[in-house]
Symmetry: C2
């Protein structure tokens, strides 16, 4: 049975079925999409959710130079691949189902809420295959796509290095061209998810490196395909040098890798030389929507678990009449559950909206639509990833708090989900870097955040003009309008400031405001989608929407006055401010 929530968001709120009018989806209809989603949810519940605790308890070990994973992992990933989900988003010509990104993102939410650390391997494989599909030569596509899409070979992204985490421009791995056209790869990579494991026959690394010619290293980075096992079956000089032992996300190996050494390590250039970052960033929008989706899904899983517990667990007395109470009968517990619902369902909604924009951009028949959709996506993508991760940590912490001591122990999954979630503000661009991308690079340039703000204002106007809109929708619309206006003032203040000291200092608070406003917009969309209904579900949607604008928005927007006052940036502080006295 299709989860009511995913189906509601996809088809009722975001009209994902509209994309089916495009010829590229001529082979699909809404029934097929719903069937796909149902089978994804069934597989996630039957094969992924049951192994989540075991993957957490059985951390990957390094044995004889290889990463050994929990025995439950490989069969689940095999089932995922066999059901066609790695290939699902690719075109039928290369064995895929040609699924719209919106539906693929809902599939991701289903698996992400069941067990993100397991799903990570196959999500990464699909992302790596996307880059090869986009930039690979015909022989590269022919050689790598088929085994990756059917899950015999998995993929990775090898970007960071021990001395260069976020600062990719400092990557030092070298690629020396050989006479046969291949490149000899030498260097160390760090923080590589799925960098080694025993769940696939081969691992296809996409490695960022500098081409060395005549002993000089290029200033620009290039991208290389570096399989762990060569096509002739011999090892390709990729050594696992360490496994990171992490707070959470135990199911996904995270590796230090060394390329080179005995026998040499060889790779093929992928895309044009010196264009490695562009090739990687081609799929970065979708990858970041993916991280946002798993973050929202991780919050969603913990919300549903803690809500189920609160509906059952007897504790204390009702304030009104002193009768024995369930946890859910206490106002403060309701506040915590409603905050979680607001974040989890609001975050899912924003991710699915972003995914629909990807489809819309792809299907656009005119340049104007394509351009405005792209502009909107460029602004929303960092917001989707950073907001879902940031508010997701809050939401997962509340799931623990609702359950009290029970939430703090490993008998229940919420402490694990909290640990897993804490990764999301860090990887695929730290939240701070994404905030700087949004505020310093995007908001201060060209149309800035106007495409987003104008779309929000248009929805507000439509809601206020809609005679069928309920009181809640009107109230939400008014709050959203006020926040949109405030954000415009904040952005104007920041834009006037050159050099961008204040923008750098306030990037994170402004990104949070932008995220809260965007998600409040999603809640306005949701109240409008249930306008004609008055069942428990519709009432709950209205309550969460009101909670969003009265409890979340006012906190982040409380900082608007600070930004508007032009308070000092942090540049004047000597670094010794933070030295131990």
């Amino acid at each position: 049975m299709l989860s009511a929530e995913l189906g509601f968001q996809l088809f009722e709120v975001h009209g994902a079925a509209d994309a089916l009018a495009h010829p590229r989806y001529g082979h699909l209809d809404r029934d097929t999409l719903e069937a796909m989603l149902q089978s994804a949810e069934a597989l996630a519940v039957e094969r992924f959710a049951p192994i989540a605790a075991a993957l957490d308890e059985t951390e990957p070990r390094m044995v004889a130079g290889r990463a050994v994973t929990a025995p439950a992992l490989a069969p689940a990933l095999r089932a995922y691949a066999d059901a066609g989900f790695i290939a699902a988003g690719f075109s039928p010509e290369i064995g895929g189902l040609g699924l719209p990104t919106s539906v693929g993102t809902a599939v991701m939410a289903a698996f992400g809420s069941a067990c993100t650390p397991a799903a990570g391997y196959v999500f990464l494989t699909a992302a790596a295959a996307r880059v090869i599909e986009a930039f690979g030569s015909a022989p590269q596509r022919a050689q790598f796509l088929a085994p990756m899409l059917d899950g015999r070979w998995f993929g990775t992204m090898c970007l960071s290095e021990p001395h260069a985490g976020s600062s990719l421009l400092d990557a030092a791995t070298q690629a020396t061209r050989m006479d046969d056209g291949r490149y000899r790869i030498r260097g160390d990579k760090m923080w590589i998810s799925g960098g080694d494991h025993d769940a696939a026959e081969n691992i296809v690394h996409l490695v960022l490196a500098r081409i060395v010619e005549d002993g000089r290293r290029s200033d620009a980075l290039s991208l290389f395909i570096v399989p762990r096992i060569r096509v002739d079956g011999t090892p390709n000089g990729v050594q696992l040098t360490g496994l990171n032992r992490k707070l959470g996300h135990h199911g996904t190996t995270n590796c230090a890798l060394s390329f080179g050494g005995a026998g040499g390590c060889f790779g093929e250039l992928l895309g044009a030389p010196g264009r490695g970052l562009e090739c990687m960033f081609h799929m970065m929008n979708e990858a970041r929507i993916g991280v946002g989706t798993t973050a929202a899904a991780t919050a969603w899983a913990a919300y549903r678990y803690s809500a189920g517990y609160a509906l059952e667990r007897m504790q204390g007395r009702r304030a009104a009449d002193g009768a024995k109470a369930r946890l859910v009968d206490h106002a403060d517990v309701r506040r915590m559950l409603l905050t979680q619902k607001t974040i989890a369902e609001g975050g899912l909604s924003l991710c699915l909206f972003g995914a629909c924009l990807v489809d819309r951009q792809r299907c656009a028949t005119d340049d104007g639509t394509r351009r405005t959709t792209r502009e909107m996506l460029e602004v929303l993508t960092p917001v989707i990833k950073a907001w879902c991760a940031e508010r997701g940590v809050e939401s997962n912490s509340l799931a623990i708090q609702v359950m009290g001591g029970a939430g703090y122990v490993r008998d229940h999954p919420v402490e694990r989900l909290f640990r897993d979630q804490r990764l999301n503000p860090i990887h695929e661009g730290t939240n701070g870097i994404l905030a700087i991308d949004l505020v310093v690079r995007k908001a201060r340039r060209g149309a800035g955040l106007e495409p987003l703000l104008q779309a929000i204002d248009a929805e507000v106007a439509a809601a206020l003009e809609d005679t069928a809109a309920c009181a809640a929708a009107r109230c939400v619309a008014q709050h959203v309008a006020a926040a949109s206006s405030t954000l415009r003032s904040v952005l104007a203040t920041i834009a006037a400031d050159k050099p961008p000291q204040a923008a750098l200092a306030f990037a994170t608070p402004i990104a949070l405001m932008t995220g809260d406003l965007s998600v409040a917009w999603m809640w306005l969309k949701q109240t409008r989608a249930v306008a004609a209904l008055d069942d428990v579900r519709a009432q709950a949607k209205r309550a969460a929407a009101l909670h969003m604008v009265t409890h979340l928005l006012p906190q982040s927007f409380g900082l608007a006055a600070t930004v508007l006052s032009g308070a000092a940036a942090y540049d004047d502080l000597p670094p010794e401010t933070f030295a131990e006295a």
Copy 2:
């Protein structure tokens, strides 16, 4: 060497040495107090900090019905007891040093920042000994205090039960009086920290139970002393039935215990029958200041570690000139470090202030001072515990974020400190229950929060009249004054609302506002204490004080409008709002 921060807070900001004028501290002078603190910090650094990682990795195991702890634990606790720290706060007549609570709290901060999970055993032992000192008969004091104060016997608090976590009034453990005056104890206890272990010769449980007479259970709860081993050396029928496997705080065992069974379990009534909760709550103020202190200390430890890392680690380029940068050179990293400093040092300051109030109450020579000090403490105690725990989780999360991937792995202590910190909003009264205590019980009754608000307003007035006050102090004072005024309006709105639906719904946001305001007050005190200085340390204090009022206050006070608008409470929502659709 005495940590500059603890000494500054204790003596420069809060004038802890003033208490020495009282005859009860006639045997002490400031040099002695500083020497005590120095030896505490030395022991914490030499014996507690080095075992923290091992205690985390070596979780307690249940072997043959007993809890087996990490081998490093017992020797560290032995050293703590041998140095006289369990006894330090007790009067010299019973072997203590008669240390003021303020200095004892600074000692706690030193050990808490080194390894709270280890220190938990001895903190709990001192707290249990306090109850026996206050309510025990002469024979009970003679029998139990000496072995507890010298650390041969440890103590616990056995309050919660499997079906009654926060809801202590539902405790069902029975105590049946026997002919010899002892009581036969039968029942199950849950979430007992230090409930079993191998680090002391005996464990003295303080057990909350209902006296049964003529087959009828009393409505009121009584308190019993129940040693694990009887005075004659035979086991007293206390079974370890389970060890909770937790997110963090691995070093402290957390146990399910069963009292009764073969051979019987016997206890002695402690204090008057039916007054068990009052006896426990006698030490609850200090216990809650203690939890606040370990929470602030846990944030402080992670702040210092992440700041040290940021001062060393090269990453990226400076925005201003493109030169290679350290993490600390980036504005967003400075924002995260400053937020941590604000929370950690502000929280420590509030805890030490609360501890000074405990001393002031104890030394008061007139009823007026005693009463106003008690009123202030009653209001501040839940704020201290809840605020340090709540903001502490944020602060510890930021320590991870500053370090990026390195913060997420076990090579560094910040992920452990984050897991340890997450306990604090849950135990010793959940933050939600403390918020209700503050807002529904205390703020709406009698003088409410006036003692606190008046003290804050008096400090603001003094700062604004002080011609020597710096610009930062004036700016902080103005923000504090505005927040104090807003909180008064919020509390008036809540007080007018009977029955207390809105108070229950808004308790947590109002408690956070109260905490932010109280800590902003501490930062005002700190800026005043460094008014005459302009070294890096003084500048850093001023920067953190400004950060408190421009970045933390505006977020929680952003919710004031929501409370003032009298928005609906959550009572109208059907519980099915939170059921899965």
